[in-house]
Amino acid sequence: ACGGGEDSAAPSASAPAPAASSAPAAAQGDGVLTIGTLLPQTGSLAFLGPPEFAGVKLAVKEINDAGGVLGKPVTEIDTDSGDTSTNIASQSVDKLLQQKADVVVGAASSSVSLSVIDKITGAGVVQISPANTSDQFTTYDDKGLYFRTAPPDVLQGRVLGDLILADGNDTVGILALQDAYGTGLADNVQKAVEGGGGEVVEKVIYDPKAADYSADVAKIKEKNPKAVALIGFDETKKIVPELVKQGLTAKKVKYYFVDGNLSNYGTGKDGFPKGTLDGAKGTQPGAQVSDDFKEKLKSVDPKLKDFNYGPESYDATIVTALAALAAKSDVGKDIAAKLKDVSSGGEKCKDFKSCADMLAAGKDIDYDGASGPIEFNDAGDPAEATIGVYEYGADNNNKNVAFNTGKIAG
């Protein structure tokens, strides 16, 4: 009697779910925690895939090294989420459900997640995304099964806006990617800037598939802002040269980056010329990714260059495994019910082994992960997050300069 249509408040008498209740495939409670990934191997976000897969892989490895969950090793099934234009996410989910996944880690794109959330949660499976930032999910009727480790844009937008003001920029131009992530973050930045006395003189939303960005930049240039916030992903590599070309160099205006494009561009062969980003700043949710953690990720995937959403994926995996341990069950609903418990209010612990040991000892734990404090609220969103502030040097690489942890609500 669950997963039935829209009568959403699925009687969450989370008693051991009858085996064939919802999806036939998810014959749950088989004692093996099966983690499915639904992450981009192809499509427009394909470049985000490698660190995410690596994060999950690393987590699974650590979990299994520490003895697995419920006495059995955790299994991982990897599938491709593509992007919405290829429609293959849904088939991937079918496969995951068929193979009795209890948890689906993914998708990276909010749109893809929206297109499969019903299917996943309808089957009583936990969906936990490392990268969704759209505010749709906060209110979505997900039967309590949807979670995410990436904080919604609110906090980052606030911090970035504040940072821009603190640097004394009274006029700001925003170039934002046309999707939930870009526009959401842009709105929050704008709110913060304008609330604090600055002015957003131009907000340009660009099509990520556009043939070129000169018109977008020209529009910014016309308004001559003191700072430009670049909110997007890989296209940033095309936009920065366009800014430089039209004379909006880092010397003249201040660039601000966000987590989607805060990478080390370098001055090497496919980097920018020296000094291109000198003095630019950026924000990124998550505690500082330690070199140690980066090394660990690299041990899983030696080719890794960027680490965006790697820690979030790692944490998503670890925290669900912990929830399964706490629930002593690998059934989706049971895991979902414990996710809030293990992430907040209790004794802090930072890795799977120690957390598992504490759980075994009957303690209440509060997992703080690689990406930050990890604390879920009732909607399944992070209630708290750390935002790091970074600054670029003449070598076009960024260094952390500060951290700011804050509650998201408010």
Partner: protein, 427 residues
């Protein structure tokens, strides 16, 4: 130069502030730094009032321009700058904003900015003397960008229309030919390490060979087996899929620039700013387009190509080696596509979807100009390029492609045969 100094000091100020006050989380507060043209402004009074009207505290900016007011808890506060305390010659930039409603969040310090300007320079958003550009400057820039983009599209379109013209094949894999060229150049430039100019030359040759090979070992065989054009069109979709993902496999999902000329600083030419590489690229593009167009119109092999396009069997009957002509066209088409890809990569980075993403515009260009005309692709593509860029004057830039496509549809309404196309005779 003066501007640079100002910007630099502003930036230094920010840096100092960041370094001296690293901890936001110490307790809720409101703070800010008052600066006028990069110089700190001191002695200005700022008062904070809680939401319920209860005054919280006042502060006066110090010698470094800083002020800070701790607040008891998170919530909304009214922050007011007492304009009477501003030194002579300094005024608020946004004069109606001497009082701000500011939200302070749990455990964080909130920055508040009162923008100051020398008195007299009243607060427009973009004072023209401040280096901002005028509307017409932007139009000029956009026109330039229209030609810039249009020429790249035209180059791609030329390759497509050559092949379409001679074989009737609507090649959906043409975008991948572009990507191929761009990636080749990337390989030689970045991986092998030769200068981009040489890498480009090599890649154009390889692109030609690739085109030749495609016809020799693939399309030519299909043609000889009598595959229909529709089947070949769908096969080209399959091929596009295949190639695109081969690129993804080897290149990865991220875009990457060439080692040379990336982020080349622009120079100002009249109202437009452009990187020197743009001018060189446009020159090369135009040259190639005109040469190929004229070759098609004037040379023997060009005429033969058009003859094959019209009627392959009759061409063969006239003593034209049809297969050879088609192969030449494929070779030239491949080489031009390669060049187009490199030019696209030069201005837009190399990525596995680059060709695919521009394909629609290429088709639009070819069609707009009129199918099967020598210079149609050129004219059509430039129109497409211009409209993409110039339409942003009226529509949001996210919809710039919509603007260009609408124009395409409108032109088709009034000239169904395309701009340079000719109507066919009935009966």
């Amino acid at each position: 130069m003066r501007r640079a100094v100002i910007a630099f000091t502003a930036f230094m100020g920010g840096l100092v502030f960041l370094l001296t006050a690293p901890a936001w989380a110490d307790g809720e507060a409101l703070k800010g730094t008052l600066q006028n043209q990069g110089q700190p402004v001191n002695g200005v009074k700022i008062s904070v009032v809680a939401e319920d009207g209860k005054p919280v505290d006042d502060a006066t900016s110090g010698a470094d321009g800083k002020w800070e007011v701790p607040v008891p808890k998170a919530g909304k506060y009214k922050v007011t700058l007492d304009t009477s305390t501003l030194p002579a010659g300094v005024a608020l930039k946004f004069q109606n904003r001497s009082t701000l409603d500011v939200q302070v969040y749990d455990g964080s310090v909130r920055n508040v900015l009162f923008a100051l300007v020398p008195a007299g320079a009243k607060g427009g958003a973009a004072p023209a003397d401040d280096g901002g550009t005028s509307f017409w400057d932007r139009v000029a820039q956009l026109t330039f960008e229209g030609f810039n983009l249009g020429l790249i599209i035209a180059l791609a379109a030329m390759g497509l229309s050559l092949v379409f013209g001679t074989t009737g094949l609507t090649n959906f894999a043409h975008g991948e030919l572009l990507t191929f060229g761009a990636m080749c150049a990337y390989f030689f430039n970045v991986v092998v390490g030769v200068h981009l100019v040489w890498a480009a030359l090599i890649s154009v040759v390889i692109g030609g060979i690739f085109g030749y090979g495609q016809d020799r070992f693939f399309w030519g065989r299909l043609r000889r087996r009598g595959s229909s054009l529709v089947a070949m069109m769908i096969i080209s979709i399959g091929l596009a899929l295949f190639l695109r993902y081969v690129f993804l496999f080897f290149f990865g999902g991220e875009g990457a620039p060439y080692a040379d000329y990336n982020a080349q600083p622009g120079i100002q030419v009249g109202p437009i700013s452009a990187a020197p590489k743009n001018f060189v690229a446009m020159g090369i593009e135009l040259l190639v387009l005109v040469i190929v167009g004229l070759a098609l119109l004037k040379t023997r092999i060009g005429k033969a190509a058009r003859a094959v396009a019209d009627n392959p069997a009759l061409a063969a009957s006239s003593g034209i080696n049809v297969d050879r002509v088609i192969r030449i066209i494929w070779t030239v088409g491949g080489a031009i596509a390669s060049l187009a890809g490199i030019m696209l990569g030069l201005s837009q980075n190399v990525s596995y979807q680059m060709g695919f993403q521009i394909l629609l515009l290429v088709f639009a260009g070819v069609t707009l100009g009129g199918l099967g005309t020598a210079f149609g692709a050129l004219v059509g593509s430039i129109v497409v390029g211009l409209f993409i860029q110039l339409s942003t004057v009226v529509v949001p830039t996210e919809l710039k492609t919509v603007g260009a496509l609408l124009v395409l549809i409108l032109v088709m309404l009034f000239r169904p045969q395309g701009i340079l196309g000719r109507r066919e005779r009935i009966g």
